[in-house]
């Protein structure tokens, strides 16, 4: 690895955050069953024009966090606590009607699987104009023209024809573009993208990421990107929050995470994925066990059963999220001294 050039932080702390999540917890409680704490005291904030990455494996609570922010979790059997503030409005205290005015207009969401996020029996055009009618009061021809314009802007060819087509007639990449067009219809100030490219091929993924990058960089729209792919994070996010078993275990700006990440789980993730530019013969070091092995945070560090750096005091009391240095926080009693060294090759296309 070349010398870890550490860029100065992006100065997120100096701007007023657009979204503030404070000590957010989500508990699923079914009658006669033990409660499941899916999200456990998560806090972060995003400023306009910034991209925040929420990283973790399946079941770590990253998607539930996004649904809680949007107020899309079911009311029954779910307890959401903590605070979600969009500018100065507390989203958790808004009524369903007020939320509906906000969703789609100021906060929009892009889902992982565009096929299931789009209604299969309604043409694309109607689904796009629906947003325009609901939030911008456009009707008929005006709405149609705007929809064509939107589809064109996200790079869908022949948008007029596409308006009359159904989701199944579009390719995966085009469906995701249509979904992005709908999300952009009212120029949202906050965009939440939950694994927006996971269902897509890499070349299409590159197109969509480029599109997202262009939408955020240089504008005052903030993006919360939820993903399991550290590669996507490395290219797109300003700050990165790594989640494990419902809690944030490490967060920092992206260079700090990748070149100075100190949580054994962060390091483990980096060493366990094959890198395209890694020298061949570089062996992968998997993380032992699976996410199922996590222990409840109340009994100690949830990652302890899989951790190579586990010590006796890791079990017993839960570690706290503590600031290591400006903008870099860590939830670990025995962090790594240095991040994993991976031998890489020079050339890369």
């Amino acid at each position: 690895m070349s010398a870890p050039a550490r860029a100065a932080g992006l100065g997120a702390s100096t701007t007023v955050p657009l979204l503030r999540v404070e000590d957010l917890s989500v508990v699923f409680q079914r009658k006669g069953e033990a409660a499941t704490r899916a999200v456990d005291g998560v806090s972060f904030s995003v400023a306009p024009g910034q991209t925040l990455g929420l990283v973790g494996e399946s079941g770590c609570g990253k998607s539930v966090t996004s649904l809680a922010i949007m107020g899309l979790l079911p009311k029954r059997g779910v307890k959401v606590s903590g605070g979600v503030f969009f500018e100065d409005r507390s989203l958790l205290e808004l009524s369903e009607g007020e939320l509906r005015d906000l969703r789609g207009a100021e906060i929009a969401m892009i889902f992982q699987d565009p096929l299931s996020a789009l209604n299969p029996v309604i043409p694309i055009g109607i689904q796009v104009t629906e947003v325009l009618t609901r939030h911008r009061g456009m009707k008929g021809d005006v709405a149609n023209r705007e929809a064509i314009d939107l589809l064109e802007r996200v790079g869908i060819p022949d948008p007029k024809r596409r308006l009359t087509e159904y989701p199944h007639q579009l390719s995966g990449g085009m469906r995701q573009r249509a979904l992005i067009a709908m999300a952009l219809a009212c120029q949202p100030r906050l965009l939440i993208a939950d694994e927006p490219t996971t269902a897509l091929d890499v070349t299409i993924q590159a197109q969509i990421l480029e599109l997202l990058r262009e939408l955020v960089v240089g504008s005052d729209t903030a993006l919360v990107l939820i993903t399991h792919d550290l590669g996507v994070v490395a290219g797109l996010c300003d700050t990165v929050h790594v989640m494990y078993a419902g809690r944030i275990i490490e967060n920092a700006d992206r260079r700090e995470i990748f070149y100075n990440g100190r949580h054994p789980y962060t390091g483990g993730l980096l060493r366990s994925i094959p890198r395209l530019d890694a020298a061949r013969g570089e062996t992968l070091t998997p993380i032992r066990g699976s996410a199922r092995d996590a222990i409840p945070w109340q009994e100690g560090c949830a990652f302890a059963p899989r951790c190579d750096h586990v010590e006796d005091d890791c079990i017993g009391q839960p570690p706290k999220l503590e600031t290591v240095r400006g903008g870099h926080s860590l939830r670990c009693l025995h962090p790594l001294d240095h991040p994993p060294e991976i031998e890489t090759l020079e050339t890369i296309v």
């Binding site: 070349s2 050039a5 494996e57 939030h135 911008r136 802007r153 790079g155 869908i156 060819p157 390719s171 995966g172 085009m174 952009l184 120029q187 091929d201 890499v202 070349t203 299409i204 197109q207 990421l209 480029e210 599109l211 262009e214 939408l215 955020v216 960089v217 240089g218 504008s219 005052d220 729209t221 399991h228 792919d229 590669g231 996507v232 490395a234 290219g235 992206r254 990748f258 993730l269 980096l270 060493r271 366990s272 994925i273 094959p274 890198r275 395209l276 530019d277 890694a278 020298a279 061949r280 013969g281 992968l284 998997p286 699976s290 996410a291 090759l345 020079e346 050339t347 890369i348 296309v349």
Partner: protein, 440 residues
Amino acid sequence: MSNSRTDSAQDPAATAAPGEVLLDVSGLKVYFPIRSGILFDRTIGHVKAVDGVNLSIRRGETYGLVGESGCGKSTFGRGVLRLNEPTEGKVLFDGVDVASLDGEKLRSMRRRMQMIFQDPLSSLDPRQNIESIMTEGMNAHGLGGNSSARRTRITELLEAVGMSASALRRYPHEFSGGQRQLIGIARALAVQPDLIVADEPVSALDVSVQAQVINLLEELQGEFGLTYLVIAHDLAVVRHISDTVGVMYLGRLVEQAASDDLYAEPLHPYTRALMSAVPVPDPDVEDRRERILLAGDLPSPANPPSGCRFHTRCPWRQETRCDDEEPHLRELTTGPADTGSSSARAGTAPVTAPVGSPSGTAPGGSPSGTAPGGNAPGAVPSTVVPPAPHLVACHWAEGIRDGHLRPKSADQVAADQGVYIAAEGALDPAAVIGAGRDAV
């Protein structure tokens, strides 16, 4: 070869040297008919999933086949095993034409070619316990002696994949995704195969678990003398695990090379685009890279473009030949010079072996093939297989290699071909985000 294959003494192949061709596929085509009509079931066309692929895999080698969804890589794997009947072409497995076999002969041949599937939950019978899942194949092929010997054998296999004998009485749903995949691998090994076709073996797994399965596949290869055909969409995974990598696009093989050569010098425009699209978990690398964005989507495999199938999206497309003349795989010596500074290139200097008949390549023992990754601790001892020649199906590969031809931007390609792209400059963020805000 492993000494554990005591049952297969009748199997002449078991004693063969590494490096000889085990699987030789020529002109394989797998077409799926498109039917129309309710009363009259007419065939109105074909989806040409695999359309003339030549490829050979040497014993002890790991051959990685990459491509995006719809390129025909999975169908190719299934065609080789005759899980999908090939429309045309020849599949020679250890010298025997698989297509000519039927009945009992095909059945016993299948013992030697096993498959690992992408989704371990749907490929394991939910109502069978692990013992019964694993012994089924052994029973069918009369392997493993009596039931107690079989049980010892499957216990050994479970241990080989890192699971304990307590798994035997349990059912697939009781395991995590990673463990199920390990069971799938152990099941494949139970019948002592020579070739394992692994179709997306890790893509359904969480990242931290992927590495466990990848490492296991590498270990088992050494232990059981296996040959792999690994089919995956993830170029980083394929590059990591494979000796030779083949890149497929729309039913055709467009490039094939030793894993390090392909990385050091991808020659086909599609391979370059594919490589540049793979994200690397390293902010500095990501900031430095220039992405080659492709315009548009994969064309329909029912009606592939004329000439080079990639010409509709190709940033290097030229006025002549590309549109109407179909390129064939040909060999290019790697690079204009030996100046390649990368140590990875050391062992893969210009290859002189003839292309058409890889069986003519030197049998194992040639020390020149063992160079790359000599520092690898615990790496697979499959380096006895000499590096494969670098083949590419592009008319202009030399010009691309030497930098005489420059790629066009995706916008230009899109404009030329009438397909879409939202690449650099095509979008003015202010136009998208800002437009109409005042209109609200």
